[in-house]
């Protein structure tokens, strides 16, 4: 499970929202799925659907009966994410990957509590208005506020603005 898929996903989702796409896809892997679900919990994307190389019909995104993943079709599966827009502006505007394969950035609970309140902690700058952060913890991929609730720190994946 490499961090590079998260880095790629951040760039791709930034570009997709800048291009005002409604539905875009990520490679189907566990890390991407966990991040997508965390983004969905944070209200930044509209839907997460696993489907084949062709997008599922948009009207059936939420009620889509996914084909069971088998060894025969797993290589062609993709995660289809519905992007959100509000007042003609993307809800998820900019995703900045923090950790990369060559440099993993972790944050303790103490760091996170400072950063979430807008203060700098070490090298990590405080969060701005409307900004959020996603972490890979031993409780799964969480938003920073979920991690603070659970009082856990972890690997900083990305910051979303």
């Amino acid at each position: 499970m490499g961090i590079h898929s998260i880095t790629n996903a951040c760039s791709h989702l930034s570009n997709a929202s800048r291009a005002r796409l409604g539905l875009t896809s990520l490679p189907n892997n566990k890390y991407n799925l966990l991040l997508s679900l965390a983004l969905h919990r944070a209200g930044l994307i509209a839907s997460v659907t696993r489907a084949g190389p062709h997008p599922p019909p948009p009207e059936a995104l939420l009620s889509f009966e996914a084909e069971p993943v088998t060894t025969a079709n797993v290589a062609t599966r993709r995660l289809w994410l519905g992007l959100k827009y509000w007042n003609n502006e993307p809800v998820m505007r900019k995703l900045t990957a923090v950790s990369k394969s060559s440099r993993l950035v972790t944050a303790s609970y103490r760091d996170l509590s400072r950063v979430a309140r807008g203060f700098q902690s070490g090298q990590m700058k405080g969060m701005n208005l409307g900004e959020t952060m996603f972490l890979a913890t031993d409780r799964g991929v969480l938003e920073v506020r979920e991690a603070l609730e659970k009082k856990v720190g972890g690997l900083v994946l990305c910051r979303v603005n």
């Binding site: 944070a42 209200g43 930044l44 959100k84 509000w86 007042n87 502006e89 809800v91 701005n128 208005l129 409307g130």
Partner: protein, 476 residues
């Protein structure tokens, strides 16, 4: 039409001949050409008879759409019922009530209007060209009616009078007034000379006789003039034109050869000094606070009063001396950047060029006030979050700060923050510090602040500002 062309010439000759035929019944007229050979002066084919429609029409009355069953008897009966003449008894009553002139007018009216016309024509109009009001047109209502043209049109041949005509006109005008010795009762100069000189003309009189006679005559005339003036003062018959007559002559008598024709004026009649119902509601276009009229356009565009406009906080934040290079040389001008704010969350930036700083500032002021926009302020003291804006090579970063932090920002941003009413702010200009671009970038940053409410709605989250929740929301 060219008369030299053969066809046109023949047509013309035939036209002339036929128009002459009915009037000249001379025996020499050619009888071989019948009068119906007369063609119109065009080459289209002559129609044998009146053109009939291909499909017969049906009249509305035949279809029962209109009622034309009013026969003459019915009309007469209705007239006799509704429009009866005055009976002798009624005339007696009227004679008692009306003056003789009114009675005569009544009789003339009765004689002039046929009662049958009242039956046939007298109805309230329902056609689309009717008057929009019911009136018997006795009075001219200036609001509704057009002004009557009481004067004939001006004489197109009229010209300015020459000296003789002018003199003649003046003499004619003066004849209206009794001037001088109309009754021939005044004495003449000869009567004051000694009797032996009275029969001889004045030129032959010796010098002393002439002077004596003139003195006596002048004295006599003075006394007579005083007498006539007393008559006038005592209300006697006027002699000579009054001042009002002379003024009327100067102002109103025509100096054209149109017999003093007063032509129709094209000017609308002036409003009276105090129009009833409107008096006191007029507003003059100029404001007493704005005598030069600088803010007239701004007032109209923004709807603000001059007092509001002049109460804005203004600041010149950038001045550039620029020049336009033309083939005639460099044309210098001054570009002035001004900001305007009301210290309560409104800010505007105006940029204008002028020949000098004063002219540029004035234009920039008007533009700044016109460009004013609401700026969102957190707790009316700072901005929402950290904002960054870039214009050209200039990046302006604004940072929200806690209460009491103050304005720790560069001078142009300081003026802007003060004008808009922000009291706690930090800022950085990490790159180019060009004055104009700094102002524009800061203005862009201030007008594009993130809105937490909108972000929360976009994500479908509930948002609570804890500063407004803790301590009973008394944190301010």
């Amino acid at each position: 039409m060219s008369a030299t062309r053969p066809i046109a010439r023949s047509l013309l000759s035939r036209r002339l001949a036929c128009s002459l035929t009915p009037t000249t019944s001379s025996p020499a007229a050619p009888l071989s050409r019948p009068p119906q050979a007369c063609h119109a002066l065009h080459t289209s084919a002559h129609l044998a008879a009146r053109r009939r429609p291909r499909f017969a029409n049906v009249s509305a009355a035949n279809m029962g759409l209109i009622d034309n069953s009013w026969s003459q008897e019915k009309i007469d009966k209705f007239t006799a019922e509704k429009f009866t003449r005055y009976s002798p008894e009624e005339m007696e009553v009227l004679r008692e009530q009306l003056s003789s002139e009114q009675l005569e007018a009544l009789k003339a009216g009765e004689a002039a209007v046929d009662p049958q016309d009242l039956t046939v024509q007298g109805a309230l109009r329902t056609d689309p060209y009717r008057m929009p009001y019911i009136d018997d047109f006795r009075d001219i209502q200036p609001i509704i009616d057009r002004r009557p043209r009481t004067q004939p049109p001006p004489d197109p041949m009229a010209r300015f009078m020459n000296l003789d005509e002018f003199t003649q006109d003046l003499v004619e005008w003066s004849r209206k007034f009794e001037v001088g010795d109309k009754r021939q009762k005044l004495k003449r100069l000869e009567e004051f000379a000694p009797p032996e000189w009275q029969a001889k003309p004045e030129k032959q009189w010796p010098e002393n006789v002439k002077r004596e006679a003139h003195d006596k005559y002048t004295g006599y005339l003075t006394i007579e003039a005083a007498k006539s003036q007393e008559d006038v003062n005592a209300g006697g018959s006027g002699s000579g034109p009054t001042d009002a007559d002379i003024l009327e002559y100067v102002l109103e008598r025509s100096i054209m050869t149109d017999n003093n024709l007063q032509s129709q004026s094209f000017l609308a009649p002036a409003l009276p000094r105090k129009v009833p119902g409107v008096a006191g509601h007029y507003k003059t276009s100029t404001d007493e606070l704005d005598v030069e009229g600088i803010y007239q356009g701004l007032k109209a565009r923004t709807g603000m009063s001059v007092k509001q406009i002049t109460s804005m906080t203004l600041k010149t934040v950038d001045v550039n001396f620029v020049s336009n290079q033309t083939r005639l040389g460099k044309i210098p001008s001054v570009r002035v950047t001004m900001i305007a704010g009301n210290k309560e969350g409104w800010l505007g930036v105006g940029v204008a060029k002028g020949g000098d700083i004063r002219a540029g500032s004035q234009m920039a002021t008007l533009k700044a006030i016109e460009n004013m926009q609401p700026i969102r302020r957190y707790e009316d003291r700072t901005v929402y979050g950290n904002i960054k804006a870039k214009i050209s090579g200039t990046v302006v970063e604004l940072y929200a700060r806690p209460p009491g932090f103050g304005l720790r920002i560069p001078h142009r941003l300081f003026e802007m923050a003060r004008a808009v009413g922000i009291r706690d702010l930090a800022a950085r200009i990490p790159r180019s510090r060009n004055g104009h671009n700094t102002i524009m970038a800061a203005f862009h940053a201030l007008t594009h602040q993130p809105d937490p409410e909108e972000i929360a709605r976009g994500r479908g989250k509930k948002l609570v500002d804890v500063r407004k929740v803790y301590y009973g929301g008394n944190v301010q």
